[in-house]
Chain length 257, copies 2
Amino acid sequence: MDEEWIKTTDKKIINLIRLTRKNTLDYINKDINVSTKTTRKDLVTNVDKSNEQFLVNNIREIDPKSKILGEEGFGDNVNSMSGHVWIIDPIDGTMNFVKEKNHFAIMLALYIDGKGILGYILDVMQNKLYHGIFGKVYENDKEIFSPKNISLNNGLMGMSAPLLINDYDNMQSIAHKSSGVRIYGSAGIQFISVIKGELIGYISHLKPWDIAAGKVMCDSLGITVTTIDGNALDMVSSETVLIATKIAHKEILDLVK
Amino acid sequence: MDEEWIKTTDKKIINLIRLTRKNTLDYINKDINVSTKTTRKDLVTNVDKSNEQFLVNNIREIDPKSKILGEEGFGDNVNSMSGHVWIIDPIDGTMNFVKEKNHFAIMLALYIDGKGILGYILDVMQNKLYHGIFGKVYENDKEIFSPKNISLNNGLMGMSAPLLINDYDNMQSIAHKSSGVRIYGSAGIQFISVIKGELIGYISHLKPWDIAAGKVMCDSLGITVTTIDGNALDMVSSETVLIATKIAHKEILDLVK
């Protein structure tokens, strides 16, 4: 692993994300063009597409031999994590972007041979970039340290509404044992809350681009990220994902089984 | 109604809320002293108490003949809304205050003979004061206008987790018909989202101090606030409260019945 290359690339990516934010804000008060994908609650906009195209084009220049996995399909068809793999979520929380114009994120990560190397989650409206590199995590320029290793009954859990309503994997019991449930509607925003220690965990059915950036930072902060069965993520499949402080992670696995 | 008195009082209250914020921030990184009230999820801290005491003492000077209804009991025993009634929530979202140090509010309202005259919700960590007076609503100094009158299937609904999990009043069906559910854990923060048009509504079991300030602003913005049965609030009882845009309010009442 070439440390100099990673440092230089990191600077380029931070600049690239700032430019993508600018594009997003330029669009936000004009007409956003919304279409549905798989269901009426699964949205895509012209901004998701334009951001992803912009990110893919720039990453092709920054790291020409890499593969790129992007939510909107402008990247490559990625089936394995070998070599350099960039994972992009051009707008995470598109429903929030459309309805709230708040609480959405731009996410980006670099994995090399399956190992998370760089991770970025930008809370666009707060203009806060959460950023992982060389085992450290930053909120803009300020280092963030590991959150307390808190048990389930002492912490707030992030969840997705469908899991909670349908009580998949004993979700209501997990909610009940926790100090309370929070639902923000964006994996990126929920990851940020876990990274900052506001929530002790998060459970949701997620795609690789929802997980990739947050996982890099969680790994550095001692926050466990697995499937809801406690298995390692392969980073190319959709999974119900359990993110939690070590103690809570173990307690939740016991409740799921 | 003496307009000059209201204007002068408004300036004093804004100043008072800013001072209360300062007190809160002074405490936040020292040891917060937490106790439980009715259940392990119903918290009170030394900061709730100290803020309420401070607010009550100052309101006694600003408006000596008024009655004061405060969450922590430093005010009066208020059974009717006749005359001047101040309603105080010294920390709304105490669980968030304790666990997240984020997403909590200070709320204050003045009702005169049952009519909402002044309303204030301070998002403490964002330092944004939402503020209603003379039929107008402001975010700090910037006027906020009525959100779009959106139907349930086009908007995000705020809810409390217990109502959703237990499916009270057909809550899961309401969630399903909406564009999605958001749970923030603070009535004040949820009210702000409705006032800004990020959410089209909010349903929760609330006390007078959770409702009073937000209702003043909702009334000015054409957002309907009633009990979940569609009845007027008496402002001295605990109720399951339905706050929503006019169209969504009607649609939700049909689902509840």
